[in-house]
Symmetry: C2
Subunit: 206 residues, 2 copies
DNA sequence: AATAATAGCGGACAATTGTCCGTTTGTCAA
DNA sequence: TTGACAAACGGACAATTGTCCGCTATTATT
């Protein structure tokens, strides 16, 4: 039988991504519309929507490179700190995540919008929570928390649950509010979060 | 001079709210459009948008009664537990908030959408964080946390900051994901959150 | 090369959100 | 009462999001 695949499909995907990246950096993620991206890239609406059903999906794709870098950083740090106490490793990971959230705030907020609204809430899939970035962060935090608890250094809790809560606490709009309204710097926020979410779990804190 | 106020303005406001409430309960918050509400109520688009710029604002108004009840419950509990340890009072407040979030999930999610997206992010106002409900919850948590810390029962932290983080951790979509994906009941979630966010702050935990 | 078949492109179209402006309507002064 | 004034109503209009379907272009087959 015939199963033809267009050879130019991949090129269009890259054209769309590149156009979106350019427009986002020039005008800001919020103000650029899907229609505008398609128009500028010179492709039909459907051509884009078939790839990215919402702006959030597009952003998730765009952030993928940056996220790969974050992942490499975290993995590197963990390897380098392999012999360090779990607490230290947890703090290192946390710091990286917060820096990343701060740097990629605009894309992350757009992704969050898609998560919160839309029929995602009805889908079984739950795009965001099943995305590779989320799963990686959750998995990494969970295993560190589990190691800390299993080695008896902390109080008792459910590592997977706690990891979800910690990630929720790092929602971009909350961090932005803390920095806009209260003037906290990124370092302030990191320190405060460690004092509030991580250290208290450890017996050795006092 | 003349400063006339239409006497029917208030009636229209109530008509809009009532219509919205009816449509929401009948069809669900997500599927009902602003246009549909205006059409059903028999008022112009602008008449509604002049009062509620987004669906989230409307939901914030609709939830106000329920929130008044929550507030009364919390205030009542705190009065009743006036002599109880701070830890116990914190847990009681937390429990109420989570139950409320669970019961009013659909309205709260709609409110969150408006918060996360939209030009709210550019506004100085930041509607949501300045809303009476948020300020009340944040204030109540902050004062309890401050009391706990000042009385030397807990580790050291910034009460106001921590209160923000705690509320962020209770985001409706996160709680929904925990219950949908992992099957946690409301009581499970309450217990876990207490073990993760509250008890560890206290010296006396162990 | 010519042909058949289909993956998938593109623009028109529908639905929703948000804005603007001509007109109505209630209030106050005479 | 009547007239003037402005608060505020309502629907038309613009912008954005999301869908549908006719048509093109690509590839396997002969």
């Amino acid at each position: 039988m015939v199963t033809p695949k267009r050879k130019d499909a991949q090129q269009l995907t890259e054209l769309i991504l590149e156009t979106a990246r350019d427009l986002f950096t020039q005008y800001g993620v919020d103000t650029v519309s899907m229609h505008q991206i398609a128009k500028t890239a010179g492709v039909g609406q459907a051509t884009m929507y078939r790839r990215y059903a919402q702006k959030g999906d597009l952003c998730l794709e765009l952030i993928d490179d940056q996220f790969g870098r974050l992942r490499a950083e975290i993995d590197g740090q963990l390897e380098q700190l392999a012999d360090a106490p779990v607490l230290e490793r947890l703090i290192a990971v946390f710091r990286r995540i917060i820096m990343f959230t701060h740097n990629e705030a605009s894309l992350l907020k757009a992704i969050h919008v898609s998560l919160v609204q839309s029929r995602c809430l009805n889908d079984d899939a739950q795009q965001f929570f099943c995305s590779q970035p989320y799963l990686y962060l959750h998995g990494t935090l969970t295993s560190l928390l589990k190691e800390a608890m299993d080695s008896g250094q902390t109080v008792s809790f459910d590592p997977a649950f706690t990891a979800h809560i910690m990630i929720a606490a790092l929602a971009p709009h909350t961090l932005q509010h803390l920095s806009d309204r209260y003037g906290y710097t990124t370092d302030d926020i990191i320190d405060q979060l460690i004092c509030t979410l991580i250290r208290p779990l450890f017996h050795s804190f006092e």
